[in-house]
């Protein structure tokens, strides 16, 4: 049941509806039974009343018959009739009539003419003779007949002397006394009706409207109309086919009163039961749902991390208790797991020391709580295990793991009491906080820290000599801010790494330089976005040593801040490479150079321009598309574009870079290897590279004229290149001797201050004009 009702309401509803259903069914059945038995009773009453009526009329008939027979058999009467002795006839009729208390005694001749009658009014009734003539057809039988507005039960017998000479008619009037007697015997109301007209009835005051009266209904039951009377019609047909109806009517209103009483009482009891059920169900539901509420509360507590519960359930059955117990157990298990997960979340799985996040959080707490007056200084130390990769590679990662654990154990063991915490920041980088005692100095600590750390380490029966880099920063002496302390320690460690030193303490000002670099980077980002001339390109011509012409230039970026400060390209390009901004920077360079080439082209100046590309640019997915897009945008001939990439950069992701370079080369773009000779590349690599040009690093050229070794290197490189099909550029040519020497060595191009320093486009045009 997808109901939004509460369980309690549902149970109450269920209980109440069951009871309502039961009570309603019982009520319906009992009502139905009562009503049908009531109806049966009424029908029985009517049937018995009907029988009584018939019996009564029969008895009356017998009486009339007997009296008639006695009358008509009387010889004296016959004689009187035969002789039309009126007085005698009348007296005989009177006499016999009074014997059976007959209401009507009539003697008529064979034609229906009245000879004598006990009722004077009838004597002159014209319809009477017709009626009597009709009765003749039904001799010896009583029948109902309306005479002079009164209803009679009549019998007609012939007066035979010995042939019929007259008819005697004897009858009882069906009057009020008659019907009242009937009612007394039948216990139902009786009415006699002829031609829809009420003749007589035991009911009073219903003469005109008797039909409506008997059809009256009771409206006390709103939906049902109940008859007030149950009627039964009994039809008597006389010899003229007149229909006389005796209507038996049972007044139902007394039984309705009884029935209504019964229904009212039953309904009252039903309502009482329903009410009691509602209360009981509600009570049961409450006792059932209360434990559920408690369990709900319990789960809310669990959600808040409150797992301690000792109070027992106040209510509920065995099942609920079981559920409660398993809830509590679940809480305990969750708590245990939570502790474990918490621990794992805060600790390094391998070495069981804090992880970086937790370490820094705890450090922040410690520093916040540090009292400079009473607590000793804190020495923050970042320790990097150098060349650990070699151990991992040669001895296996399990040994490597053991080694790291041993290192941690050793770090902890050096100052077991003063070491506040140890953390692992990365694979081989551990951080330590050592609390200095008040009388201790930084040097004291370091003096006793390094020797045991560097002592040979026994791992799996192997003695390992590990090298470390340590960066330190002292709190609060070197910084009182937690972020700064961490940053400065990092700077010290980085310095130690770059300086290849074992220990490097933070030196004041380093942090500022670091921050300055960050600022510079931010400025570069902004100026790149603004593109307002702070950044600009300069071009250094390359001299073709064979024909003495200037065909190529190398584009170089320059940054001069609005205050005139020149920012070293090495510095900001290095920063850009570190921060990834180099992509955007190179895009700017390509865009600017191509635009420049378009301008030159417009002045009919065709110069090959070399652009320096970093490894990050080459690897970037959009690079090639960007170059092609810009080439088509500025209508630059790809043959006039040379991309310079250092040997070292090619080697960072050799396969990808080579495939990209090949792709670029296919469009006509030339590839040049920059700074050749100082990288780590082997000669063997050269043959695989899709390059057109080799640039011999200026380290070999600057002192070419004086250094014999350089001459050999340059000479052989040029020869090698030529044999491999590359052209050669020498950069850093600063004197004529060197230039001549290169010319003699058949170097293809030369570049250097001797020829021209890098200059802006406008100057270049002037310079080119002057050169020619």
């Amino acid at each position: 049941m997808a109901s939004k009702l509460t369980l309690r309401k549902q149970i109450t509803f269920l209980g109440v509806s069951l009871v309502v259903l039961t009570v309603a069914s019982l009520l319906a059945v009992s009502l139905w039974k009562t009503i049908s038995s009531h109806n049966l009773q009424i029908n029985q009453r009517i049937t018995s009343a009907e029988n009584v009526l018939i019996e009564y009329l029969q008895a009356k008939e017998e009486l009339l018959l007997t009296a008639s027979k006695v009358l008509t058999a009387d010889f004296g009467f016959k004689q009187a009739v035969a002789s039309r002795d009126q007085a005698t006839i009348a007296s005989v009729l009177q006499n016999h009539g009074s014997r059976i208390n007959a209401s009507l005694m009539v003697l008529s001749d064979l034609n229906g003419e009245i000879i004598s009658s006990s009722n004077n009014q009838l004597t002159f009734d014209s319809t009477l003779s017709q009626s009597l003539m009709a009765i003749k057809q039904n001799l010896n039988k009583t029948q109902l007949m309306l005479l002079g507005g009164n209803l009679y039960q009549l019998i007609v017998l012939p007066v035979e002397a010995p042939r019929t000479i007259a008819y005697s008619v004897i009858g009882f009037q069906i009057d009020q006394a008659f019907v009242n007697e009937l009612k007394r015997l039948m216990t139902v109301e009786v009415s006699f009706i002829y031609n829809d007209a009420l003749i007589i009835s035991t009911l009073q005051n219903i003469d005109a409207s008797h039909k409506e009266h008997f059809k009256k209904t009771d409206n006390s039951w709103l939906l049902f109309e109940r008859k007030l009377y149950e009627n039964k019609l009994i039809t008597f047909t006389d010899s003229q086919n007149h229909e006389y109806i005796a209507q038996l009517s049972v007044d139902l209103s007394p039984s309705y009163i009884e029935l209504d009483k019964l229904v009212a009482i039953t309904l009252l009891i039903s309502l009482l039961i329903i009410g009691i059920t509602a209360i009981v169900c509600s009570f049961i539901a409450r006792s059932l749902t209360k434990p559920l509420q408690q369990l709900t509360q319990l789960s809310h507590d669990f959600a808040r991390g409150k797992y301690e519960h000792n109070s027992m359930m106040s209510d509920g059955g065995v099942e609920v208790l079981r559920l409660y117990t398993s809830f509590i157990q679940m809480g305990k298990k969750i708590e245990q797991r939570e502790i474990k997960i918490n621990y794992q979340a805060k600790h390094d799985a391998l070495t069981d020391v804090y992880n970086r996040t937790t370490f820094l959080e705890l450090l922040a707490e410690k520093i916040a709580l540090h009292d400079h007056n009473t607590d000793g200084s804190l020495l923050l130390m970042a320790i990097n295990v150098r060349n650990f990769k070699r151990i991992n590679d040669s001895l296996g990662s399990s040994t490597g793991d053991l080694t790291l654990r041993s290192v941690v154990e050793r770090i902890k063991a050096i100052y077991p009491e003063q070491t506040l915490m140890v953390g692992r920041f990365s694979g081989t980088e551990f951080w330590v906080v050592i609390n200095l005692k008040n009388n201790e100095s930084y040097e004291d600590i370091i003096e006793h820290f390094l020797p045991p750390l560097r002592a040979p380490l026994k791992v799996n029966k192997l003695w390992l000599n590990l090298n470390y880099c340590l960066g330190t920063c002292l709190f609060p002496e070197q910084s009182s801010d937690v972020k700064a302390v961490v940053r400065r320690t990092t700077i010290a460690l980085e310095a130690a790494k770059t300086e290849n030193a074992t220990l490097r303490a933070y030196q004041s000002g380093e942090d500022e330089a670091y921050l300055e670099r960050l600022n510079l980077l931010e400025e570069l980002r902004e100026t790149l976005t603004r593109d307002d001339g702070e950044l600009f390109m300069v071009y250094q011509p390359k001299l073709n040593l064979e024909n003495g012409k200037i065909e190529k230039v190398e584009s170089l970026i320059r940054w001069i801040k609005p205050n005139g400060q020149f920012v070293s390209p090495e510095l900001f390009i290095d920063l850009a490479e570190q921060s990834g901004l180099i992509i955007k920077l190179t895009h700017w360079v390509i865009d600017t150079v191509f635009k420049q080439q378009q301008e030159w082209q417009a002045k009919n100046l065709k110069l090959k321009v070399a652009i320096n590309i970093s490894a990050q640019d080459m690897i970037h997915t959009d690079f090639i598309d960007f170059v092609f897009e810009k080439i088509s945008q500025y209508h630059v001939d790809p043959k006039l574009v040379t991309l310079e990439i250092t040997e070292r950069d090619i080697m960072t992701n050799e396969d990808l870079v080579i495939s990209r370079l090949t792709q670029l080369k296919q469009t006509g773009i030339q590839i040049s290897v920059d700074d050749y000779g100082i990288g780590e590349s082997s000669l063997g690599k050269l043959k695989q590279l899709p390059i057109d040009e080799l640039k011999i690093d200026k380290a070999f050229i600057l002192e070419l004229d004086t250094s014999e070794k350089d001459q050999y290197i340059v000479q052989s490189t040029i020869e090698l290149s030529h044999q491999l099909g590359f052209s050669v550029v020498a950069e850093g040519v600063e004197n004529k001797a060197s230039l001549d020497m290169l010319k003699a060595m058949k170097c293809n191009h030369a570049q250097g201050y001797f020829i021209s320093r890098p200059i802006k486009s406008a100057e270049l045009l002037i310079w080119l004009n002057a050169y020619e």
């Binding site: 018939i54 009329l57 029969q58 008939e61 039988k141 012939p158 010995p162 019929t164």
Partner: protein, 219 residues
């Protein structure tokens, strides 16, 4: 009795006088259903009554046998006497309220009463006050020519008798007395040569059978 009447002296005279009329005639009296009616009385008005001989009054017998009048219908002539002998061994109280001859005779077995003279023409209906079922008729004829049908409803008239019309009486006839002219009669000859007289009779009245209407209707 008729035969006797015919066989008397008058027969010769009749034969002599009424020679103009047709030969012997037979009459068939039947009811509305075509059934022959016995005990129907045919009284002819003779064409020439002057020729009729006056006979002396006779004494006839209306006996009571087995609580019945015997004969049921007795035809006599005006002025004849009737004796009521009572052949039963029980008592009868014979009466007549008929205007032709009202009387009352208490007849005891073996004790005969004096014969009664019937001198007014007409029909006397006889009853017994003790036995309601007993009913008898005495037809007092004024004409000399009077016949009564036999069991087959047939009556024969000597061919010497000439008549103008005939009065037909039957106890059950609706019309007590039916007068028919000679012309009318002669048209109704049937295949056998009999003159047919049709009477409408009532069904006999039920006697001593009592039914209850209420018993019927009530069920």
């Amino acid at each position: 009795m008729i035969n006797r009447l015919l066989n008397t002296s008058s027969i010769v005279i009749t034969l002599l006088v009424l020679c103009t009329q047709a030969s012997a005639e037979s009459f068939l009296v039947q009811d509305q259903h075509g059934l022959p009616l016995k005990n129907a009385v045919l009284e002819f008005s003779v064409t020439n009554p002057a020729a009729e001989a006056v006979s002396p009054p006779n004494t006839l017998i209306m006996d009571q046998v087995d609580k019945l009048f015997k004969p049921e219908v007795l035809v006599i002539h005006q002025g004849d006497y009737v004796n009521f002998p009572n052949s039963d061994n029980i008592r009868h109280h014979v009466y007549s309220f008929s205007s032709v001859k009202p009387f009352e005779l208490k007849l005891y077995s073996g004790k005969s009463k004096a014969p009664l003279q019937f001198d007014v023409a007409g029909v006397a209906v006889l009853g017994c006050n003790i036995h309601d079922s007993m009913i008898g008729y005495i037809y007092i004829a004024s004409s000399t020519q009077v016949l009564m049908t036999n069991e087959q409803g047939i009556a024969r008239l000597a061919d010497t008798v000439a008549y103008d019309s005939v009065n037909v009486w039957h106890a059950s006839s609706v019309t007590r007395l039916t007068n028919m002219s000679y012309e009318d009669l002669s048209k109704s000859k049937n295949n056998n040569g009999a003159l047919v007289i049709n009477l409408v009779v009532e069904a006999p009245e039920p006697r001593n059978t009592f039914q209850s209407i209420f018993k019927k209707n009530g069920q």
